[in-house]
Amino acid sequence: MSDKITKASRHVSQNEGLIFEKSSPGKRAFELPPLDVPAADPAKTLGANHRSEGVGGFPEVSEIEVLRHFTRLSTWNYAIDLGMYPLGSCTMKYNPRVNEFVVRLDGIATEHPLQPQVLSQGCLKIMQLLEQSLLEITGMDALTLQPAAGAQGELTGLLLIRAYLEEQGNARKKVLIPDSAHGTNPATAVIAGYQVENIKSDSHGQVDVEKLGELVTEDVAALMITNPSTLGIFEQSISDIAAILHAKGALLYMDGANMNALAGVARPGDFGVDVMHLNLHKTFSTPHGGGGPGAGPVAMKKILEPFRPIPVLVEMGSGELALEQDRPRSIGRVKAFSGNFGVLVRALAYILAYGPGIRQATEDAVLNANYIRKHLEGAFALPYSRPSMHEVVFSDAVQKEQGVNTMDIAKRLIDYGFHPYTTAFPLIVPGALMIEPTESESKEECDLFIEAMRAIAEEVASNPELVKSAPHTTRIGRLDEVAAARKPVLRWKQGSGV
């Protein structure tokens, strides 16, 4: 490992097999209090439904083995708690620990979703305050907290649009989606029963307004736009785009994945958006947890309010809060119970900590992205030069000449002690390097990242093989994904030697 790498050093990493490989009959890690009622005979009460042999293959290990097993596994992960995690479009920001504390309080974690509402006022007040806060941040009129993640928020939004258009007499056929969009957008449109029409971005990476004018007909239900776009660039013509859609009776959906560039600075409700989702696990700091859980609240204009999924949070005349189930115009339920409540709690804790100061977080996020852009321009190609907001997208065009691509650079970045940026997305940038530092990075951490990226750019010129064969410092090298997909091994089996 090179001496010039400032951020990372080598460190012993413990080996650890699968938990099933440590099992030995009779060991256990958890004991229950003794049974205080007469024991029932399972064979008698369950009859033929009895699983007499127990769960075959289940691990049998002690408490210290469980703790060490998962602790060792944990040390093989990179994490925000270790350093910058500049995944573009993912908004990997600090996850405040107090949020983890409050979500586990007795009276918060312990509450049953079907318990009487008179005993749920605390939960409902949390949901109400979060709804109000998110409406203030987005500038919209009404909200649902139910969707479990961004993709479910998108579906909820499109179903709202469909229900609204159906009441107008025509649900319409198509949803327009720019070629720079996240993959969830087209996948969602199909589930909502719409055909997808992809629209090409213009030479600045923006929606081609003239072209849009031709495409929007009375067959179009909506345009799904991400703003700022996945290039990190604000759509200059956003209000013209909205006007074009509205003139034909279509609606504007905004993917709020990039709300970290706008919170406290500008509100989608003010620039023509009819409905949008938020990713609480991005903008509002709830932990990604290795892939979830998240939450995807949907904010909307008044015209869509009657169609919100049930149940709907309402304030009764008495001031008591309630979840209303009987809403005939509702699109129905998108998830059991009241959303990922534990995620909602964390998001509200985050908002309460900032208050109106959330604007400062947005400003710092944009400052960090521009600082990194400034120092990497020249070393990496910048395919779209419009001003960056919270993220910047370079391409590997310069490095390609040495046979090095964005994935190679990403893997080499691991050796320098960073998680890679997002590779190969958005699709409109061949060989994209999509970098989103978020506000959680200090100047020092940004400088270390810049130093690492510039050093890699030099290595590409002087020793491209070093970069192409990276990472060199991880416990395993690049894994053969093609072989893994050709003959998938998706579970451990007794005696299989997996």
Binding site: F58, W76, A79, R267
Partner: protein, 451 residues
């Protein structure tokens, strides 16, 4: 602000470096008229102690100090502090989806172990890395059956959780899926006669829950035989995972949609939980959601990667098997740790305690005049009784005794007037049960409330 790691001089330095006069310069791409001039009207800022205080106050307005006999898809089970200690390690808590395998092996191996545990529990050949919850897993299972069979009718047991049925209908409405309900018979299980008249060569799947919403265990093998003879798939939803420690797994099902909340996850007012889809190997390419698989590096070392991504939205876009992206990974990790802690014997013992407590409370309840068991069929930790008067009225009385009574079924099933769904788990003490039984006896002895 304590979460922001910059001093104002550092901000100035960075602004100067990028050549901006002020921070506003960096927002110049937003049309002037859309830029907010005033601060947002948000509560806060609050210090850490104030944040804690706010939530403690809300917690006091909830059900602390009450015993509860609610289940219906959300179960209160014992949870080890070890699980929380592990899932709060920053390396798990604050990591992203493990796309960069070399620095995500911890998460990837844990997912592989989760998939294995779910296969062992359900008796299926493979399981995915998680779905949002049991309701969306059940819905996705029905959509998966539609893709596999290329048929469009789905027969759904009325004894499937009402909220799961709602979610399925919401999704089905626009994807061309026709959902029809099959009622329950005298035993609370799927009515075979109605099924017989409804099933045909155009049915993609029959969806049942077991133990079902009334707590009753459905008879899988006979049902599977009938379903398969029409070329349809059997989808079995499981909302109470602990039952699988004792109850025969639905090996005859083609797709199992499991809610894993019972495995170490708090009720948390309804989420986040963890859904899972488990199925046959031959259906793997129609599976929604992420999958972790074994792989080797160039030196032959074992590792794990996210695999078969060609099914997913970030590759296939509008042709993907599902739109799911973010899933419930940390909840799946909690379930993995929890089940590992319990192990084979712990899970069996927990299941036995649930069964024993449910039998005990039923025996006590039916001693009360007018209280009867509604369905005479095997159950696990939940069962349905009929009361001689309105369940809501009885529950109002029980609340005074700090007891959250059983779920009244009549708002969900108008045909089940005065029916109550009673749930107990290993966390329900004998004292709780005795207090509940005597409270119920007393409530039923009171003069009826005026209508």
């Amino acid at each position: 602000m304590r979460y922001l790691p910059k001093s104002s001089s550092e901000r100035d330095e960075m602004l100067a470096a990028v050549g901006a006069r002020s921070i506003d310069d960096l927002f110049s791409s937003i049309p002037e008229r859309y830029r907010l001039r005033e601060a947002l009207n948000l509560p806060g800022p609050l210090s850490e102690p104030e944040v804690i205080q706010y939530f403690k106050e809300r917690a006091k307005e909830n059900s602390v100090g009450y015993s509860s006999f609610l289940g219906a898809g959300v179960y209160n089970h014992l949870r080890s502090v070890v699980t929380d200690a592990i899932i709060q390690r920053g390396e798990f808590l604050t990591s992203y989806t493990p796309y960069q395998a070399e620095i995500s092996q911890g998460t990837l191996q844990a997912i592989f172990e989760f998939q294995t545990l779910m296969c062992q529990l359900t008796g299926q050949e493979l399981a995915n890395a998680s779905m949002w919850d049991g309701s969306t897993a059940t819905t996705e299972a029905a959509l998966m059956a539609e893709r596999i069979t290329r048929r469009q009718r789905v027969l759904v047991a009325r004894s499937l959780h009402p909220e799961y049925r709602d979610v399925l209908r919401t999704y089905a409405k626009n994807s061309g899926l026709q959902v029809e309900e099959i009622p329950f018979g005298a035993y609370g299980t799927l009515d075979p006669k109605v099924l017989e008249s409804a099933i045909g060569e155009d049915v993609a799947a029959v969806v049942v829950q077991s133990p079902n919403f009334f707590g009753v265990i459905e008879s899988g093998p006979a049902l599977a035989e009938r379903v398969h003879s029409s070329g349809a798939l059997l989808v079995v939803a499981v909302t109470e995972g602990v039952s699988l420690g004792l109850v025969r797994p639905p090996t005859e099902a083609d797709i199992v949609a499991l809610e894993g909340q019972s495995f170490g996850l708090a009720p948390s007012y309804g989420g986040p939980f963890v859904g899972v889809i488990a199925t046959h190997e031959k259906f793997v390419r129609q599976m929604p959601g992420r999958l972790a698989g074994q792989a080797t590096d160039s030196r032959g070392r074992r590792g794990f990667v996210l695999t078969l991504a060609a099914r997913e939205q970030h590759i296939r876009r509008e042709k993907a098997t599902s739109n799911i992206c973010t899933n419930q990974a940390l909840c799946a990790l909690a379930a993995t740790v929890h089940l590992t802690l319990l192990g084979k014997e712990g899970l069996r013992e927990m299941a036995e305690q649930n069964l024993s407590k449910a039998q005990f409370v039923l025996n006590e309840l039916v001693k009360i005049p007018g209280v009867r068991r509604a369905f005479d069929a095997p159950f696990f930790n939940e069962f349905t009784v009929t009361l001689p008067r309105s369940v809501e009225a009885v529950n109002r009385q029980l609340l005074r005794e700090k007891i959250v009574g059983p779920l009244a079924l009549d708002s969900l099933y108008p045909e089940l007037t005065n029916h109550a769904l009673v749930c107990v788990t290993e966390t329900t003490t004998r004292a709780d049960i005795e207090k509940f039984v005597s409270g119920l006896r007393l409530a039923l002895a009171l003069p009826r409330e005026p209508r």
